[in-house]
Subunit: 398 residues, 2 copies
């Protein structure tokens, strides 16, 4: 083979999630859409808030088409960045600097650009908390560093001791993701405070700051409590945001990076982010959707639908005997495979046309991820299938 | 500095083009918009065809918002790829395979993804023809290879002998860009045939195919003759396309990669492209604009405006004594600096509030690039300033 073999391997081996999704499509064609319970993909099922369409139509009916669809500056339209900073300050009381914000093509771009800006040696390590989104490994390795996973504590929470041990003089950054994909767990304020404390101590110990990359595509999807402002806990924080889930626009690829103005060498890091964006081929984030988020930054799709799904699914599944960490956000349940073998359990579930993703690629063995961003109706219809699956493992209920 | 220094340097040193553009903005604020003749940026001035807005409104008024803004498959919506392949076949008589096409966030993404899929060793070399778009160097080096520039022949044409000499056993790909940015030159069919012949011979000599990457953002902007179908001249061709200029949508970031079905290990290369897209953080091309190009793929903004600009500018400037290669496409004139010093000439032009980009970063010393994708009115208004500039170098005309 004369092309790049690593890239070939990444293209040839589809992610487990996509694999299952494709299987689901075939199965639906065979037995009927309504008989397959596809919980494989994190594709929002709730439509965007109605203001999204209104704003898009308004923008398209505005005067200057050439400007609307024209290049913005590489870091994104300044007015857009100013609006987002203002809204963030209103919500969290923390002031971002629009000149340290960079509009991106969504969360994946936010992460790859940030990692490529930070990583500078192949010895560099990026630490993250298991379970984690599998692409973290792909992005980190492509940026030239090694991903180090911290095993979770009870309840899929942050394991402080394991975290402390995972940090070395090669650690350049830590990726944290709360609400978490795949577990739906929201880390509590005390935990975040503890993470910040450990990072501060370790940075001092090694005489070199460790950046905290807060990957926040699910920030708007918190059911209990309020989302946290990580830059107010830890100085050297970079927020990576995406509107994909908050506004149900995952195909449109729009998000941002915000370097905390308090961060070590914030201005240099920001310029490295601009340079990495340029070198990876990101000329500017899609312009129409930049202007759209200026209008809709503070809105959220109707998360009550996700909450109701969560309540029903979590309630019924635990009643049946399954066990899950309590998911306070996002739209995922991370359920223990009763046998301890995630692949076996996922295969068994398939026999009842339930599609759930085995957890190995999430860095955490023995679970399956259930993406409940589906219609409430499908959840209801899936219950008898789950009952049968439970029976298989736990016997008939009295 | 603890961030990546190369990325920092790329972010800190803005491209000369952007630098000049920012200067222009300040100068306009100081002396009035109408008194600055800004030819720095390749930002289309002609609005999109009216069908673009119509199609966007129709798509937004369609039924399923969740699908419209939802993830497509990573390589792009299949129906979109099929339509583009069908249109290409109708126009050029060459059949692409939709399963070897990959929708991208525009030309820069098409190139970075392709280069990252091909490059596999730091000894790898990518050859291109000077003058060339400066980001070729940035993209190539980030992908881990070395850019080799072939000096031009008379009239900024392909220099066959120099091309042959530039190819080594380390050459992995050749980037060709016709119509050319920055020269506006369109390479003639005989030249393309010759390039293909040299590539074929060299591939055979080294026992390993060299891919031809045809970077075609200006394909729709040809004033004399017809655009060519490069895959019909050379087997191992990859077409990198963008709708930015053809549909005047540069901010929206939409384009594609098409691997020729005849190319060596086409399927493997395509999978490496899918892998590279994934590793660089390109989840899918913006979905609304994917569906938009399905509707508008065969349309073009009104290029007669660019042609008229070209005629007037080329005619008048050569009359004044300046000399340019004849630009049959795109919207650039590449003009010789009368003193031979591009930077001196660009600075001199600034004194008359004419903003033109010095050519050094295009791999070709002693020229300036004039982007004439501006209003016809501005060209008319700039004439007295050009007259004064000419006088400075050539004396008063009789």
């Amino acid at each position: 083979m004369i092309c790049n073999e690593k890239m070939y391997a990444l293209g040839a081996k589809r992610s487990v999630i996509r694999e299952l999704f494709e299987y689901g499509k075939q199965r639906k064609a065979a037995v009927g859409e309504e008989n397959v319970f596809d919980f494989s993909l994190g594709n929002p099922s709730v439509p965007p808030p109605k203001e999204v369409k209104e704003a898009l139509l308004r923008l398209l009916d505005g005067e200057n088409e050439t400007a609307l669809h024209g290049y913005t500056s590489a870091q994104g339209d300044k007015g857009v960045r100013e609006t987002i900073a203002k809204n963030y300050e209103k919500a969290f009381g923390f002031a971002f600097d629009p000149d340290l914000m960079y509009m991106t093509c969504g969360a994946a771009a936010s992460l790859t650009i940030t990692l490529n800006a930070i990583v500078s040696s192949e010895k560099d390590e990026i630490v993250t908390f298991a379970p984690f989104f599998p692409e973290y490994r792909v992005f980190t390795e492509k940026a030239g560093a090694k991903l180090v996973a911290v095993p979770p504590a009870e309840g899929l929470d942050v394991n402080e001791e394991a975290f402390r041990l995972s940090l070395t003089e090669n650690t350049r950054a830590v990726i944290i993701n709360s609400p978490n994909n795949p577990s739906g767990v929201v880390y509590k304020e005390e935990k975040i405070r503890k993470v910040a404390e450990i990072l501060k101590e370790t940075s001092e110990k090694f005489g070199r700051p460790i950046y905290l990359i807060s990957d926040e595509p699910y920030r708007a999807l918190v059911f209990e409590g309020k989302p946290l402002c990580l830059p107010s806990f830890y100085r050297d924080t970079i927020v990576c945001y995406s509107y994909s889930k908050a506004l149900s626009l995952p195909g449109e690829r729009i998000g941002y990076i915000a370097v905390s103005p308090l961060a070590f060498e914030a201005k240099d890091l920001y310029l490295a982010i601009c340079g990495a964006g340029r070198a990876l081929g990101y000329v500017c984030a899609p312009s129409l959707f930049q202007y759209l988020v200026r209008e809709c930054d503070t809105m959220t799709s109707d998360i009550e639908i996700y909450r109701a799904n969560r309540d029903k699914l979590f309630g019924r599944l635990t009643e049946m005997g399954f066990s899950c960490a309590y998911p306070s956000g996002a739209f995922y349940l991370f359920m223990k495979a009763p046998s301890g073998d995630a692949n076996e359990f996922s295969e068994e579930a398939k026999k009842f046309d339930i599609l759930v993703v085995p957890s190995d690629s999430f860095g955490c063995e023995g679970y399956v991820r259930i993406a409940y961003c589906v219609s409430p109706d499908m959840i209801e219809r899936s219950m008898p299938a789950f009952e049968k699956l439970a029976e298989k493992y736990f016997g008939k209920r009295k």
